[in-house]
Amino acid sequence: MNLTSSSSSATSTNQPSQDIEKFHGSSLELQNLTMAYGDVEVLRNVSLNVAPGTTTCIIGPSGSGKSTLLRGVNRLHEPKSGDVLLAGESALKVKPDILRARIGMVFQHFNLFPDHTALENVALALWSVKGMSKSEARERARRRLAEVGLAERADHRPRDLSGGQQQRVAIARALAMEPEVMLFDEATSALDPELVKGVLNLMAGLGGRGMTMLVVTHEMGFARKVADQVVFMDEGEVVEIGTPTELFDNPRSERLQRFLSEVL
């Protein structure tokens, strides 16, 4: 199921004449990924296929290894064994810095740079990693902020923004790097309830524009509506994988049934 971004019901001022900028998401494949903290294996033999431009939601109880899985994809934590293929090529064979510039990540606690304005947060990696000139970087940062509805808050520091605004800055910061894949690590878990939907809508919009997304979430409604594929994990393993309908309406494993009965 693909959400087209022009079907927004937010406002009636649709502008079909304006080009919708499409993303070019890459495919992502995990092959027998095993990750460990010291001697403790927290992820065992996880295999997963994410087609280009699709959204995969990962659900599961705490301690199931969801976040660890995301951190393995961009190698914030090095996998113990197995492989990650980004656009068909092994992510473990390129330099981590190069790899991470191709993969955007959004964190639960935003992790914005507190002494930078929203604009500088977005522009920083553009000039320091992508080597753009500072004025070019600021120009692009301004556009990205406008896209997430924060044009007027470009000069605010994170502490002067709400959680929802901060998370949108974080999304703009990741998007500005023109990533091929976006990782969301419980991006709405720290938000006030009324601000959750705005961020989820934004994420859904990215999926609709062709971004490949791997989303760890506790928002079952989002997973059901937006995901092309849902993965249920528990104790470091993939327990069930399938379409939202298959998992939410027809859970086969006892563990998923238990989980869903608790969260729905």
Binding site: L3, T4, S5, S6, S7, S8, S9, A10, T11, T13, N14, Q15, I20, N74, L76, P96, D97, I98, L99, R100, A101, R102, I103, G104, M105, F107, H109, N111, L112, F113, P114, D115, L124, A125, S128, V129, A146, E147, V148, G149, L150, D160, S162, Q165, A174, M177, D192, E194, L195, K197, G198, L200, N201, L202, A204, G205, G208, G221, F222, V226
Partner: protein, 262 residues
């Protein structure tokens, strides 16, 4: 009231105080400030190197930094100053000339850098790990993320501690007189002491003490001011805004961007 008289003549001999004033101002204060500020600048630079080495993942950087810190923090300042000042006098003569003044500054800065290194290290390590992770997730290298994001935040956090360290250096600068200074190189303490010998009472030293206090007390209050400012933040109190306002802001964003999840 004989004892009161004695006290007043020993510590507060007005004539002696006035007499030493020009020298304290023109020579003593100037040299104390030159020595302290130069030692602080060198100490901050070296301290930053020690701090970055100290948090390195390589033990070949970490262990030397540790030893350096333990050494210069663990020795009495006077001992370090004498060892450096006299031990390297020959070498110093060929570089700086006969004055021990530069060696005194270097010895002070070695001591200072050990403390400042620890201050910086604590500051940098107190920054949330998520900051470095966010940098690396954007493709920044370890050194770039340190230089552009983590270290500047760490420095800001330890500014009060740095001012305290400067106060300690100002006081320690009095120890440089042990190396034997030229008349024009004397700092506050030495000027006061020399004058005390001439006047036969301690009033010039009291005057020198007043000068130290003039430097250090305002700085102590500056620290408190900093501390307050950083704790309560630069924030002006603003009226709370309803989260619902933010929803309008999102609606106003380009409808082409947000998908519908409603």
């Amino acid at each position: 009231m004989d004892w009161l008289n004695t006290i007043s003549r020993t510590f507060f001999d007005f004539d002696a105080m006035v007499e030493v004033l020009p020298q304290l101002l023109g020579v003593g204060l100037l040299n104390t400030l030159i020595i302290s500020i130069a030692a602080t600048i060198l100490g901050v630079v070296m301290g930053m190197v020690v701090a970055v080495m100290g948090i390195s993942r390589s033990k070949w950087l970490r262990i030397p930094a540790r030893i350096y810190t333990d050494l210069f923090r663990g020795l009495p300042a006077i001992l370090t100053i004498l060892l450096i000042g006299q031990g390297f006098a020959r070498l110093s003569q060929s570089v700086f000339g006969p004055s021990p003044y530069p060696l005194g500054i270097i010895a002070l800065s070695l001591i200072a850098s050990a403390y400042i290194g620890e201050i910086f290290r604590a500051g940098i390590q107190s920054i949330d790990k998520g900051q470095g992770e966010a940098c690396r997730a954007l493709g920044m290298s370890y050194s770039k993320s340190m230089a552009l994001v983590v270290v500047p935040q760490g420095i800001r956090r330890v500014l009060p501690a740095l001012v305290n360290q400067f106060i300690a250096i100002v006081k320690d600068s009095s120890l440089v007189y042990f190396l034997g200074l030229l008349v024009s190189e004397r700092e506050l303490f030495r000027v006061g002491q020399d004058a005390a010998v001439l006047s036969g009472n301690l009033s010039p030293l009291v005057m020198a003490g007043i000068f130290y206090l003039i430097i250090t007390v305002p700085l102590t209050h500056l620290v408190n001011y900093f501390d307050n400012k950083f704790r309560t933040g630069r924030r002006r109190p603003t009226a709370p805004t309803s989260g619902l306002k933010e929803l309008k802001e999102l609606d106003a964003a380009s409808p082409l961007i947000t998908g519908s999840n409603t």
